[in-house]
Each structure stands twice: as C-alpha cells, then as structure tokens.
C-alpha cells in the first residue's frame, strides 16, 4: 500500500450517506462514526466525573466542611462512581476504540449488526441522560454509593429508582456491543485472518465480549429486583421480611467484579498493540497473551466474593474466594512478563503512546500487587473499606484502564483524525499525569493503612497532612489532563497530516488510509503474516499484508 491516496479515496468523514449534517452522525450505522460518537460522549462524561472528583478532593483539604455539606458529599462520591464506572470506563475502550478499530483490524467492512450497534449507542445516551436527569428530580441526587447496597438503598429517600433504570439500560447497551463484537470476530475476518493471526487487541475485545454477555445480565436482574423491592416491597432482600442483604451483595458483585475485567482486558489489549509497534519486535508469547485473556475472563467471573470478606459470609466461602483471587493474578502476571520480554533487545522508539504504556506497567503492577494484599482474608479484614481499597481500585482502573484509554487516544489519533500531535508536549503530559497520580493515590495507600475509612466526609487531625498532599496531587493530575487534551485539540485543528502509517505498525488498520475510507479498505485485504511479524516488515508495508 503506497502512501499516496488512490484517486477514488474519500475518507469516511466525507462519505455522503442517506442523511447529512448532524443526522449523518447520530443515525449513521458506520462503525467508525459510532465509535467516534461513543468517544466524544464518553470524553464529556469523563470530564464531568473529573470535576466531581476534584470537588471531592477539595472538600477533604481541611477538616470539617470546606465547600459542601455531608449530604452533598455523599451525592458527589456516588455520582463520581456511577459516571466514571457506568458511563466512562466500562464502555470506554471497547465501545469507543473497539467499535472504530475492531472491524478494520480484522479486515471487515463493518460489524455484523450495524443497526444494533447504533441502537446500543442510543441506549447509552438514553441511560446517561436518565442518570443525569435523576439528579434534579424528586428526592434529590442518589447517595448510596455506586454499589447501591441494600438495605440503605431501599430506605433512603433520595432518587434511587431512576439511576438504577439508567444502569439497567447502560447494561443492555453493553450486552449488545458484546454480542456484536463476538459475532463479528467469528464471521467477518478477512481471508487468511485466522484466530491466531488476529491482533491481540481483538483477542482482548473478544474475551471482554464474553464477560459482557455472561456477567451483565446478573446486574440486570439485581437492579430489577431492587426496583421491585423499592416499589412493591416483595421482601427478597429486606431483612425485615426474611430477605438476605448478603445475597444482594453476591448478585451485585457477580457482575461488578467481572466488570473490572471489562475495563482492564481491552486496556491490556492496547498495551499488546503498542509495545510491538514501538519496540519493533514480534510480541513475545502471542498465544500465552491471547489465552491469558480468556483465562482472566473465566477465573475473573468466579472471584467476586473477595469484596465481601467482612460482610458475614461463611468461612468456607471466604477461603475459596481468596484462593480463586490469587489464581487470577497468574494470567495477569503472564501478560506483564510477556510485555517486558517483548521489549528486550527491541529498538525502542520513545513516543507518547509508549510512555503511557511504561506508566501503565508501573502503576498496574502496584495496583495488581496491592490486590493480593486485599485478596488475602487476614489483611483484608483490616483494610476493608479504607482508603487502601480506594487507592488499589484507582491504580488498577485509572492507572490501568484510564491510562490505556489515553494511550489509545495517542496511538490511534493519527488514524482516527488523520493528523499528528506534538509528541514532546504529549510526553510532558504523561510525566505530569504520573506524578499527580502517584501524589494523589499512593498517599491514599498510606492513609488507608493508617485507618482512614473511605466515603467519610470528615477525618481526624492526624490525617491532615496526607490529605493535603493527596488534594494537591489531584490538582497536578488535572493539570496533566488539561495539558494532554489541549495538545490533542490543537492537533485536531492544526496538526500536520499523519500519513497512513506514522508509527510503522503492521496490523491492518495501518494498511489503509488515515482516516479510513467508508468501508475501511479500497482493496480486499488478505492476510499472510502474523499481526506483529516485524521479520517481514517490508513485504507487509509494501504489499498491504
């Protein structure tokens, strides 16, 4: 594939469909447009979530009320959780980058069910709107925490039903995406693209799709039961009528723990794309990485009980969940070792996406190892519901999935928009982000093991210094985010044309134009070599696989 565009080349931005203008976007069934719709809507929700997080940290700057009252604080941390989890990080990488890239990476024209794909974006928007609207309706903003624990969630007078309905709709949207991806991977691979020639990002999306299908219905039914409980009082979870609140926790975590893997697996997929491209080497242990995704998906479905070690489960259940939790660390470690091994003797090019990956490996390793501390019953009993848990969660989900969302943004920015950004500024933003991140969340580890409970509005004077450090860290972190986004926005307007393959990537998305034409390729892709086969670099680049 030569870099000069063919005479008939027209990017998907210029393609004229049935509708034009804004309708051409919100009614388009083109997976690339839907991917971008997701991308922009998620970015907006992300900024709302960041603002809420900023307010929360600001409140903790001093003891006693700083800028808000306790009830307001409860609402803010609940919304921060709901928005970040259900509206940003769960759909995050799969629905945004996955939609845009999965069909291109396997050489397809679109996903299997394009109209269903559009429907899932609409459901996402409807769910998001309901969640936001619930703040201003009777009862006031929900204050249960994003976990909706019973019995508080059936007793509180705040608006609980609408956020729950929103979560249900969002879950449905997530299921439809999962169904679409799995079918697409099975049915629409290009000629020669066997399962073991698929890029690892596609593998991780495939595994994610299965978690979405197997896990999400459980939260669906749990949410329905809580709604029924609140509306009709059937007593299924209400201890006053013989119900079992711990059963609610079981059902909630049967989904919500695998949900963490919905967040992290695609992130790991992005790592596996970026490292070979920037190290100029074939990925080490392709099959090990691919299968570890499936192993994480399966074992990760079975470890939910480690969220409930102090809730009054049986001892038998506690050690079983503890054991399973330790097992899930194995496939995760397999991935980390393979990534590091890939870099060995590589000719590494230090660009922003790669720098994000370095930050990821560092932060994710800390997050993963502290996960083992929490997975052991004996230590968890002391650390449960402290800042230690909050910190661990943010290391994995923000330092892991969030940073890889940023990495994906930088890695595929040239493909999505056809422009190049300023790499030097981007590298600085990675540095600032990482420093802010460590100041904010590593401090929380210390606060946690010194005994600072999570979700508390106030704290003892002895925690003051560390809270100030964390809050300042949040400011550094936010300035990093602002710098990063500004850099990308400037590039969007004034960036230089990127060319088809600015990084020298070998996966199929780099063998078509940037931005890609309407049905992704102006030739019929056929795959001969593996996705990271740098030994055949010249042949792949010159022949378009």
């Amino acid at each position: 594939m030569s870099n000069t565009a063919s005479p008939t080349y027209k990017s998907f931005y210029d393609y004229k469909g049935k509708y034009t203008g804004i309708l051409g976007w919100i009614l388009s069934t083109d997976h690339k447009r839907i991917g971008l719709l997701y991308f922009w809507s998620m970015l907006s929700f992300f900024l709302v979530g960041v603002t809420l997080g900023f307010l929360m940290r600001f409140e903790m700057l001093t003891t006693g009320p700083t800028i808000m009252q306790p009830q307001m604080y409860n609402a803010v941390f609940t919304l921060h959780g709901i928005i970040m989890i259900f509206l940003f990080i769960i759909p995050g990488i799969p629905a945004g980058f996955g939609n845009f890239l999965l069909p291109i990476m396997i050489g397809a024209e679109d996903v299997s069910f394009p109209r269903l794909n559009l429907l899932s974006w609409w459901l996402y928007i409807i769910g998001g709107t309901i969640a936001v609207a619930s703040l201003f309706l009777s009862g006031g903003p929900i204050d249960t925490g994003w976990t909706f624990y019973i019995p508080y969630s059936i007793r509180t007078s705040t608006q609980v039903v609408l956020p729950l309905i929103a979560a249900f709709i969002l879950g449905f949207s997530s299921i439809l995406t999962g169904i679409n991806f799995i079918t697409t991977v099975h049915r629409l691979r290009a000629k020669g693209m066997t399962f073991f020639k698929m890029p690892l990002f596609v593998w991780s999306l495939y595994a994610t799709g299965w978690i979405q299908i197997i896990g999400t219905p459980i939260i669906g039914i749990t949410i329905l039961l809580v709604i029924v409980e609140r509306t009709f009082g059937v007593g299924l979870f209400d201890p006053a009528m013989g119900g079992d609140p711990i059963l609610f926790q079981h059902l909630f975590w049967i989904y919500s723990h695998p949900a963490v893997y919905i967040m992290i697996l695609p992130a790991m997929g992005i790592v596996s794309e970026i490292i070979p491209t920037f190290a100029r080497r074939t990925i080490f242990g392709y099959k090990a990485i691919a299968f570890s995704s499936l192993a994480i998906a399966f074992v990760g479905t079975l470890v939910w009980g480690h969220h409930m070690f102090t809730s009054g489960m049986s001892d038998t259940a506690r050690w079983i969940y503890s054991l399973l939790t330790f097992i899930v660390a194995l496939p995760s470690a397999v991935k980390v070792f393979n990534w590091v091994a890939t870099m060995y003797k590589g000719s590494i090019k230090m660009s922003a996406p790669f720098a994000f990956v370095m930050a990821f490996i560092f932060l994710f390793s800390i997050g993963g190892l502290t996960g083992l501390i929490l997975g052991a019953v004996s230590t968890d009993v002391h650390l449960h519901d402290t800042y230690f848990v909050v910190s661990h969660f943010h290391f994995v989900v923000f330092g892991g999935a969030g940073f890889m969302f940023f990495a994906g943004m930088h890695y595929w920015f040239p493909k999505l928009f056809g422009k190049l950004y300023n790499d030097k500024v981007a590298l600085w933003s990675v540095l600032i982000l990482t420093i802010g991140f460590m100041m904010l969340y590593f401090t929380m580890f210390i606060l946690g093991y010194e005994g600072m409970p999570r979700r508390y509005y106030d704290y003892l004077p002895q925690f003051h210094t560390l809270h100030v450090v964390a809050t300042v860290g949040s400011w550094v972190l936010i300035s990093g985010i602002i710098l990063m986004l500004t850099n990308l926005f400037i590039a969007l307007r004034k960036g230089k044309p990127a060319g088809n393959n600015p990084w020298g990537g070998l996966t199929l998305e780099w063998q078509t134009q940037s931005p890609p034409p309407f049905e992704n390729f102006d030739y019929t892709p056929e795959v001969i070599y593996g996705p990271y086969d740098y030994e055949h670099f010249d042949e792949i680049i010159n022949n378009g696989h």
Binding site: I179, V234, G242, G544
Partner: protein, 209 residues
C-alpha cells in the same frame, strides 16, 4: 497494492449472513438464560434457608392450572417449530396457520396466568398485603419469588408475542420466504427459550407438595 481496484460497491454490504444472525440470537439467548439464572440463584438460596415454609406456601398454588399452562406452552413450542418446517417445505399458508396458533396458545397462557394471579390477589396474597405480612418470613419470600419470577416470565411471553407478530407480518409480506427464513428461525429460538424457562419454573413452584 495497485490502485486500479475501485472501492467495493455499496451493494456488497447487503450480503446475508444467516449463520451470523443465528449466532447473534444465541448469544442474546445466553444473556436471557443468565438473567433468569440470577433469579434461580436467589431461589436456591432461599429454598435452602426456608425449605419448610416453601413447601407449606406452595400448597396455595393451583397445580391443575400450572400443569395446564405447561402443556399449553409446550404445545405452542411445537406449533412454532412446525411453522418453520411448513415454511421450509414451501407451504406458506400452513406456516401462517401454525404461527397464529402459537400466538393464540401464548395468549391462552397469559389469560390463565392472569386468573391465577387474580385468585391470589383476591385472597389477599400479594407483595405488601396485610394478609401476607402476618405470615412467616419464608412464605413472604416464596410469594415474592413467585410474583417476580412468573412476572418476569410473563413479560418475556409478551415480548415473544411481539416478535412472533413481526414474523407473521414478514411472512405475509414475503420478507420471510422458504429460502430466506432466518428471521422466523431466530424468533422461534427466542420462543423456545421462554418455554425452557417455564420448564424449570413449573416444578420449582408447583411441584413442592
């Protein structure tokens, strides 16, 4: 890659992938299966906890109506699959008749279910009622489960009716034909799933004597 290949015509995307459609439907059915699976987990937990009370409370349910409904639903599954067979054999009229029969049986199921619920409610057994509040915890839970599970199942019957209506219209308008029947086939898959759920609900609620 030489550039004389022109972009593929738009018509190329209109290809049919029946296998893919069926796979999508199966994946969706799995989510339904797990949705009910969650409810069955709830059932299991409370059955372990309140097994005596469950046996006692189940005596209130009408076994005859439950059995009749099982037979109706199994029969509707048969007519649904026969509608597909008839269409595959090219007999459009027979297919339509079988499909209408399926829908009539489904409505029959709902009517009987309605009578059952009505009888319970008129005896004062419904969530939040004073009558039920006086009973043991285990019985409250049993009826809570009974209403939730059969209610959600009935909701699926209604959704199934809508899907079957679409299939019927498609057949009449020749959108679904003896050579292109995937829409009817996937609708049938959904209908059979609703049947399977009932196959499990029936013994768990009605056969506890």
């Amino acid at each position: 890659m030489d550039t004389n290949q022109i972009a593929p015509a738009h018509a190329a995307t209109q290809h049919r992938d029946d296998f893919g459609s069926k796979m999508g439907m199966w994946l969706f059915l799995f989510t339904e299966l797990i949705l009910f699976g969650g409810l069955f987990i709830v059932y299991m937990v409370y059955r372990i906890q309140y097994s005596e009370a469950f046996h006692f409370a189940a005596k209130e349910l009408n076994l005859a109506l439950g059995t009749l409904n099982t037979i109706i639903l199994l029969t509707s599954s048969l007519t649904c699959v026969l509608a597909l067979v008839a269409l595959q054999k090219g007999n459009k009229a027979l297919s339509i008749i079988f499909l209408i029969l399926t829908k009539l049986l489904a409505v029959g199921f709902l009517v009987i279910k309605g009578f059952e619920w009505g009888a319970k409610i008129s005896h004062g057994i419904y969530p939040g009622s004073a009558e039920l509040a006086n009973k043991e915890n285990g019985e409250i839970i049993f009826f809570g489960l009974y209403y939730s599970m059969t209610g959600l199942h009935a909701l699926h019957i209604i959704i199934g009716l809508v899907i079957l209506s679409f299939s019927l219209v498609f057949i009449i308008r020749n959108k679904v034909t003896p050579t292109n029947y995937i829409k009817l086939e996937t609708a049938g898959l959904y209908w059979h799933l609703v049947d399977i759920i009932w196959i499990f609900l029936f013994p768990l609620f009605y056969l506890l004597h």
